[in-house]
């Protein structure tokens, strides 16, 4: 099964596309500001017309909407999972989005359509214990990688929030991945629970829960959730 969450930077639209029926469900569909956003909790297989695209349409979308004119090098990675975005997609957001998508059925072969780029990044992977000590271990890992590079305090706070979420609300094993490049650092927390994803909540004034993702949303340059069949990855990106 392939599913896509596609966001168009030029048309300001976003659509989940599925190649086959089944999970994940259609979550939402955004469109231009002059059209109302729709929410649809129905399974992907029962999605109505307009909420899914076939592979050819996805190719067309990528060509027309996503990659035209973007200052990124060419290669052949593409989309295999759903990316839930929270903000309008800019060119650099697309690059970070494309970077963490994997090779899908059929799409990767079309080198004229799809692009990736060599980031020269270093990937660190760590398995975190599924207990309350996970955030601290995640922080010490990031401290070792980021050193004094600013905004290290923001990075430590965000990784603490994401790892706490992963062990409290996700399912183990939890993996911390850090992609560090010259000017960016991308942090991913992957767990085995594909059924729930974090969201930014509007917290009532006296509420003490649900502030973690608000902090992430405020401090990270970008963040999002990639959901597979039996896993999800919450990622965030910082400019160094």
């Amino acid at each position: 099964m392939i599913s896509y969450w596609l966001e168009g930077p030029t048309s300001w639209s976003a659509t989940i596309a599925t190649a086959t029926a089944g999970w994940p469900p259609v979550l939402a569909r955004w469109s231009r500001p002059d059209r109302p956003a729709e929410r649809d909790g129905s399974p992907a297989g029962s999605a109505g017309a307009g909420t899914s695209m076939d592979v050819a349409q996805v190719r067309g979308w990528l060509r027309d909407e996503a990659l035209t004119g973007l200052p990124i090098p060419t290669s052949s990675r593409s989309v295999s999972s759903m990316v839930i975005g929270r903000r309008p997609m800019t060119a650099d957001r697309i690059s970070s989005w494309m970077r963490r998508t994997a090779t899908p059925l059929g799409l990767a072969a079309d080198r004229d359509v799809l692009r990736t780029w060599d980031l020269g990044e270093t990937l660190h992977r760590f398995t975190l214990p599924c207990g309350p000590e996970a955030p601290r271990l995640a922080r010490s890992t990031l401290r070792a990688i980021a050193g004094d590079t600013q905004p290290v305090d923001d990075i430590l706070l965000v990784v603490s929030e994401l790892s706490a979420n992963a062990v409290q609300h996700g399912r183990g094993p939890v993996e911390l991945r850090v992609h560090s490049a010259a000017d960016t650092i991308v942090i991913e927390l992957a767990d085995s629970d594909a059924r729930s994803a974090p969201e930014v909540r509007r917290t009532p004034i006296y509420s003490v829960a649900g502030r973690g993702m608000s902090i992430v949303d405020t401090l990270a340059a970008h963040w999002g959730v990639t959901v597979g069949m039996e896993w999800k990855t919450v990622w965030c990106e910082f400019r160094l």
Partner: protein, 108 residues
């Protein structure tokens, strides 16, 4: 890897006899520390006139830690604010970020 917790809390005054309770916190206040701090706050005398948390030596706070700081006031029943003594700049910034600055009193 040695997994030493990097947090400690010491009750300097339990608040017995109608006095303020004083807890001294040291280290990183996250989900792990939150459990221990909650347990310590639960031991504060319900008759304490206030809960004062000396946070001068707190080097890190995330939302799990924040949650416990907010809940400290609940221990005294009324919606009485927790006093944060010598709050580090990072903690003040986090409180600003989350709009919770007004929920605490500051001392020191």
């Amino acid at each position: 890897m040695v997994d030493e917790p990097d947090f400690s809390v010491v009750t300097a005054a339990t608040g017995a006899g109608g006095s303020p309770a004083v807890l001294v916190l040291t280290g990183e206040l996250d989900a792990y520390a939150a459990e221990r701090l909650t347990a310590e706050i639960d031991r504060v005398d319900p008759g304490a006139t206030a809960i004062e948390l000396d946070v001068a030596a707190v080097s890190f706070v995330d939302s799990s830690g924040l949650r416990v700081l907010l809940k400290a006031s609940d221990r005294l029943g009324a919606r009485r604010r927790t006093v944060l003594r010598d709050a580090p700049a990072a903690l003040v910034r986090l409180l600003e970020l989350t709009g919770l600055l007004d929920h605490f009193e500051f001392a020191g």
